[in-house]
């Protein structure tokens, strides 16, 4: 009965949302801000990937908030899951194929991850995507050899350090009389690797932070034992 009522309301919600969104002409939305940014970005920011320009430039504080959320989630998860007991039962190590595969994949993924991060201002991809790949790279060995202890201290240093770099880069601009997170260095030539001012640096910080955060999260989830209350 309750489910039936809920279904009716779900149907109602679908209908209402359809009614609402059908009133918009598809692909005709006013692009007030978007157009402005498209005109402004190449000269102001100098990043070929305008999404990156938005993420790190125009909406840089969003990104700061976002890595803070990841940090908060990771800290909260750490708080919730707690420290692992040393005598806890561990998973059996992975098989030979897994282990050698990991050994092979690990450097490859590192390279790919950093490549994606560092080309974030030029091509699709950037700190988030690259960070995820880095996280996967660090998580894979754990899957293969569960008995290896996770270096949470190292991870938290990377987390904190990368976050601090992001903020300090922003503060540097503030100290020079600009606004917080104002791009600092010269824009350089559009489309080159070393261009777009401090954007690559910021994206590197984001990538490292995201990578460390997610790796830590996965390691904790893989590591936790449930029976302990």
């Amino acid at each position: 009965m309750r489910n039936l009522a809920a279904l009716v309301f779900v149907g109602g919600l679908a209908f209402l949302l359809l009614v609402i969104f059908n009133q918009f002409d598809f692909a005709q939305a006013p692009m007030v801000v978007g157009q402005g940014i498209l005109m402004d970005a190449p000269d102001r920011v100098g990043a070929a990937n305008i999404v990156t320009a938005v993420v790190l430039g125009y909406r840089g504080i969003d990104t700061l908030g976002e890595i803070s959320i990841l940090f908060a989630a990771s800290a909260a998860a750490g708080l919730v899951l707690g420290r692992r007991r040393t005598d806890a039962r561990r998973d059996p190590p992975g098989g030979f194929i897994l282990r050698s595969g990991v050994a092979l994949l690990f450097p490859l993924m590192l390279v790919v991850g950093f490549y994606i991060i560092l080309h974030g201002h030029l091509t699709p991809g950037g700190g988030f995507q690259g960070g995820v790949i880095l996280a996967a790279a660090f998580f894979l060995p754990l899957l293969a050899r569960p008995e290896t202890p996770v270096n949470h201290a190292g991870l938290s240093i990377v987390e904190g350090g990368a976050g601090a770099v992001f903020i300090l880069t922003g503060l540097a601009a503030l100290l020079q009389g600009g606004e917080f997170l104002q791009p600092l260095l010269d824009n350089g030539v559009l489309g080159e690797l070393v261009s777009a001012g401090t954007l690559p640096l910021l994206y590197l910080a984001v990538g490292l932070k995201v990578g460390a955060e997610l790796a830590g999260l996965m390691a904790r989830l893989a590591d936790v034992e449930v029976d302990e209350p």
Binding site: L17, F21, D25, F26, V33, I37, V54, A73, V80, L221
Partner: protein, 151 residues
């Protein structure tokens, strides 16, 4: 009859994801499914945002060299969705950690059962025990003794 437009299909897809997600949250009682449903609903909302920046005949907002000015799609919603996706995964990880711990404490993954056991736990801690289930009257049934043992 009007031909179905791509826009309608896409909006329907996005709304469908949102609604399926919400339906999952509301209808499902299994914590794990609820978290999955939350992920789906968020994905739908993300799609909605991306749709709001779409333009026909436009290219992705990346300058590929050559200074021919081409129309591009709106980069702002894309940036927002990037943010939103990462937020989503953080929340999801936290939710799963909490689920693990809640399961560890109460040995159930049913959200209703979890609520019951938690309320009983909280009430017991506070020294205000909940009344027993109202379906069963308190105390034994005052039935006449059965034939066999009525000696």
């Amino acid at each position: 009859m009007m031909p179905i437009e791509v826009g309608t299909v896409l909006y329907a897809g996005a709304i469908g994801l949102v609604v399926v997600g919400i339906a999952g949250i509301v209808l499902s009682h299994h914590l794990f499914r609820i978290i999955l449903a939350l992920v789906i609903a968020e994905a739908g909302a993300n799609l909605l945002l991306v749709l709001s920046g779409f333009r026909w005949e436009a290219i992705a907002p990346i300058i590929t060299g050559g200074d021919a000015v081409q129309t591009m799609v709106d980069p702002v919603p894309q940036a927002m969705v990037l943010t939103s996706i990462v937020i989503g995964v953080g929340v999801q990880a936290l939710a799963l950690s909490l689920t693990l711990r809640a399961y560890g404490a109460y040995k159930t993954l049913d959200i209703r059962e979890l609520q019951r056991r938690m309320s009983a736990d909280l009430a017991g801690e506070a020294g205000t025990p909940l009344p027993q289930s109202l379906e069963e009257p308190v105390g034994g049934r005052p039935l006449p003794a059965a034939e066999g043992d009525g000696r």
